[in-house]
C-alpha cells in the first residue's frame, strides 16, 4: 500500500538525510517499528488535502519537503475515475473563480476533465413563501474584472481525480492509501533526537509516520482534530441534503453560453438547481429527514414531478405532495394547471433522473475552536462544516489550503520549523475570522427562511426586494458568491 510516487524527494534536508539514514540503519537492525520521519503528513486525500500537497510540491520553495499522504480509500480508483459524457456524479460543488485560479496556479486545473465543468453566469434566488426575488445578473451589478462567470459547477470526483493526476505528475509524495489510521501518539526521545512533541501516525499494518507537521484534512469527524484536543462546536440542522443528477428538457433558457443557477427558499430549506454541461443539472435540496427519505423512495417519474413542483408550486401544495406515498406525477400536473408560473424565471422542466444518483446526507454546522496546535493544522471540513446553501464548503477548504501553503512557504524561506504554532499562526489568523463570518451568514439565512409564517415572512421579503433594488449591496453579494469578496463586512 505504500507507493512512493515519481522521483523520490529525499528529505527533511540534505544533511539530516544522512542522520536519518544513519538512524534508519540502526533502526532496522534493532526494531523495525521505528517511525519514518516526514516534514508533512496529511491525513485525508479529499480536495483539501490533495490541493495542499499539490501546492507544496508545485512551489520550488517547498518542493524539497518530505511529504506523506494517508488515505483510507483506494486512490488508484479515484485517479482513473471515468464516466461517459452523458452521466454525471451526484456529488457536485460550486468552484468560485478564486478557487479555480488557485487550482490553475498549482497546475491542477488543466488535469480536470474540462468538458464536464459548467460555468454559470446568473443566479436566481427567491423566497418560496412570498415570491420576493433577487436577480443576480451582472447587467445590474458591477462586472468584476475576472469576467462574467459567477462560479463553476464541477463533480467532486473530477476535482480529486485531476488533483491526483497533477500530484503524481509532480511526484515526491509517499502515498499510503487503503490505510487506516489506528492511532496517533507522540514520539520518543533518543540519544540524538527528541521527538516527544512530534505526532506519530500509526497505520494499520504497523507502519509509523513521524510528522513535523500533521495536516488534518480528514473530514468533519477528523481523528487528527481529536488527537490535537481541539473541540468542534455547532449544531445539526435536522435537515438532509438530497442530491440527484437530472436531465432537463433543454440546455437552459440562455442556451449553452448563458447558464443560470436557481435557488428557492422553502420553509423546510432551500432547493437548488445548478447547471451541468448540456441539458443536465444537479439538484441540492435541503429538507426534513422525513421528506428526504420519502424522496429517495419515489419512482423516477414521481421524483421528477416533486422536483419540478419544488420550483413552481406553493409550499402548501408541496407539503401535501410530500405526504403521498406515490402518485406525485398526477398530483403535480393537476396542481400546476391552477398555479401561475413565469416559466423563464424558474429552471426548465426536469424530464429524467439518472439512475442511482438520488442520495442524501445530514446537514450540520461545525466550527473548530482553532485551526492549529503545536505540529497540527486543520483544513477543510476538519476545521468547519457549513450549510450548503451558498455552495461555499469546498471553496472555504481551498481558501484554507491557499493560506496554509503560503504560511508554510514563508516559514521555509525564513528557516522556521514549519510545525510550530509560530509558523502556523498566520494561517489561523487569516482564515478563522473569514470562515466564521461566512458560516454565520449562511446559518442566519437558513434560519431566516425556515420560517413559513408570522411577522418574519413579510419582513424578509421586503429584505429581498430591497436587496434587489440596491445595486451596490447586490454586487457585493454576487462578488461574495464568486469568491471575489470574501472579506470582513
Amino acid at each position: 500500500m505504500n507507493t512512493v510516487i515519481g522521483r523520490r524527494s529525499a528529505y527533511v534536508c540534505r544533511s539530516c538525510t544522512r542522520s536519518l539514514q544513519r538512524q534508519l540503519r540502526r533502526t532496522y537492525a534493532s526494531a523495525a517499528s521505528q517511525p519514518d520521519i516526514y516534514d508533512v503528513v496529511c491525513v485525508g486525500g479529499g480536495p483539501a488535502g490533495l490541493s495542499l500537497l499539490t501546492a507544496l510540491r508545485a512551489n520550488p520553495v517547498t518542493a524539497h519537503l518530505r511529504i506523506a499522504l494517508v488515505e483510507a480509500q483506494d486512490l488508484a480508483k479515484t485517479r482513473s475515475w471515468k464516466l461517459p459524457a452523458n452521466k454525471f456524479s451526484n456529488r457536485c460543488s460550486s468552484l468560485t473563480p478564486s478557487s479555480v485560479s488557485f487550482l490553475d496556479q498549482i497546475g491542477a486545473w488543466s488535469h480536470l476533465e474540462r468538458d464536464r465543468v459548467q460555468a454559470y453566469q446568473e443566479m436566481q434566488v427567491w423566497d418560496g413563501v412570498t415570491g420576493a426575488r433577487i436577480e443576480f445578473d451582472w447587467a445590474q451589478g458591477s462586472t468584476p474584472a475576472a469576467g462574467t462567470t459567477i462560479a463553476y459547477m464541477n463533480e467532486n470526483l473530477n476535482l480529486t481525480s485531476g488533483l491526483l493526476k497533477r500530484m503524481y505528475e509532480l511526484g515526491g509524495v509517499s502515498v499510503f492509501d487503503k490505510a487506516k489510521v489506528e492511532r496517533i501518539a507522540y514520539g520518543e526521545e533518543t540519544e540524538e533526537l527528541d521527538l516527544r512533541e512530534w505526532p506519530v501516525i500509526h497505520l494499520s499494518g504497523g507502519k509509523q509516520l513521524s510528522a513535523r507537521l500533521l495536516i488534518g484534512a480528514d473530514g468533519a469527524n477528523s481523528p487528527v482534530r481529536s488527537f490535537a484536543g481541539i473541540e468542534a462546536r455547532g449544531w445539526d440542522y435536522n435537515r438532509h441534503g438530497v442530491v440527484a443528477t437530472l436531465e432537463m428538457e433543454e440546455e437552459g433558457w440562455g442556451g449553452d453560453h448563458l447558464k443560470t443557477a436557481y435557488q428557492r427558499f422553502l420553509p423546510t430549506g432551500p432547493v437548488a438547481m445548478l447547471p451541468l454541461p448540456g441539458n443536465y443539472s444537479t439538484l441540492v435540496w435541503s429538507t426534513t429527514p422525513a421528506n428526504a427519505s420519502r424522496l429517495k423512495s419515489l419512482s423516477a417519474k414521481d421524483f421528477i414531478a416533486t422536483v419540478n413542483a419544488a420550483f413552481r408550486l406553493s409550499p402548501t401544495d408541496l407539503e401535501y405532495m410530500h405526504t403521498q406515498e406515490s402518485g406525485q406525477a398526477e398530483e403535480y400536473s393537476w396542481r400546476l394547471e391552477h398555479t401561475p408560473v413565469d416559466h423563464r424565471a424558474v429552471p426548465q422542466v426536469a424530464v429524467g433522473v439518472q439512475e442511482g444518483t438520488v442520495a442524501s446526507f445530514p446537514l450540520k454546522l461545525r466550527h473548530a475552536d482553532t485551526y492549529i496546535a503545536e505540529r497540527v493544522a486543520l483544513v477543510g471540513d476538519a476545521a468547519h462544516t457549513i450549510h450548503p446553501l451558498a455552495g461555499q464548503g469546498l471553496n472555504q477548504g481551498q481558501g484554507d489550503v491557499q493560506s496554509l501553503a503560503k504560511a508554510i512557504e514563508y516559514a521555509v524561506s525564513h528557516g522556521q520549523d514549519i510545525g510550530v504554532t509560530m509558523s502556523l499562526e498566520p494561517y489561523a489568523s487569516e482564515r478563522y475570522a473569514a470562515n466564521h463570518l461566512l458560516l454565520g451568514v449562511c446559518d442566519k439565512l437558513h434560519k431566516l427562511y425556515s420560517v413559513g409564517s408570522g411577522p418574519l415572512v413579510p419582513l424578509r421579503s421586503v429584505g429581498l426586494n430591497a436587496v434587489n433594488a440596491l445595486g451596490p449591496l447586490k454586487s457585493f453579494f454576487m462578488n461574495q458568491a464568486a469568491g471575489n469578496g470574501i472579506k470582513v463586512f
Binding site: 534536508c13 539530516c16 542522520s19 520521519i37 527528541d194 528557516g415 509560530m422
Partner: protein, 307 residues
Amino acid sequence: MRSSLRHAPRALRTAHPALRPAPWLQQFHPQQPQAQPPARKLSTTPPAHHNPPSPTSSSVNATEISHFSALASSWWDPHGPSRPLHLMNPHRHDFIQACLASSPQPNPTPTPLRYLDVGCGGGIFAESAARLPTTASVTAIDPSPQILAVARAHAKRDPSLGSGKLTYLSETIESLPLPAAPADRFDVVSVFEVVEHVDYPAAFLDRVGEFVRPGGWLVLSTIARTWTSWVTTNLVAEDILGVVPKGTHDWYKYINEEELRAYFAGKDGVWGAPRVMGVVFVPGFGWKEVRGSEKVGNYFLGVQKVG
C-alpha cells in the same frame, strides 16, 4: 555579554513603555540620564557610569550571564518574554537576503553560506539559519553554558539540525580561535541585539569584524539612543509610571546608526557603505519595516568587507 534573551522585553519596551520588565532587568544604575541625549563616539575605554568590565573581554559580564541563565526555560515559549524576538527573526533573514543581493560584484557571494552567530542565546536565529537550504554551516557562540544547554536541547527536537550543520560553542568572540586563512572565515557574521549591551563596542566590533571573510557581511541589530527611546524606556517607564526602578535601562549603551556609520567609515576602506533598515514593533501585529525609523528605535545594519 549578552544574549538575545535579555533583549526581548527591551525591544518591546521601545513600543510599550508601561510593560513591566523581567526581574533580571532591574539592575540598579546609579546615574540619572542627562536631559539631552549625548553624542557618543564608540570607545575602547569604559564609560564612567558602567560596571567595571571583566579584564579579558570586551563583551562578557558575569552578572548578566546569570540573569539569562535563570530565564533559559522560557526562551522558546512563543508566548513568553521572547515573543518579540521570535517575531523579529524572519526580518533578520529578509535583511541578510537584501544585503547579499546588493553585494557589489568583485566578490559575488558563493552559496552555500557559512554563518557565525555571536551571542546566539537559545538559538532562535542560529536554528533558522541552519534550516535554510542555502546554508552550509552555522557556528553559534554564547558565553552562558546554561543558555547553550537550552539551545542544544531545543535543536535536538529537529532532525534537520543534526549531523553537524549547526554547532554551538560556549565561547566569547575573544576566546574563539580566528581561522588563519581569510578565505576560511565566515560569509555572514551576525550580531543581533548584542552591541547595546557591550562595554567596549569598538573593541568588540574590531574583533567580530576579523571573522568576516573578504566579501562577506557583518550584520547587526540594535536600538538607537534617541529622545524616543529615552522617553519610552527611561522617562515614562521609570520616572512617570514607576513600573521600572530608576536607572534600570542602560540607555547610554544604545548606539545610534550614525555612530556605527562613523565607526565603519573610520576603518580605512575595510568596510563598504552600510545598509540600514529600521523596524518598529506594532502591538498585535509584530515588527514592521518603517523607513527612517533607524533614527528612532530598533534597526538593522549590514556592512560588506570590501578591503
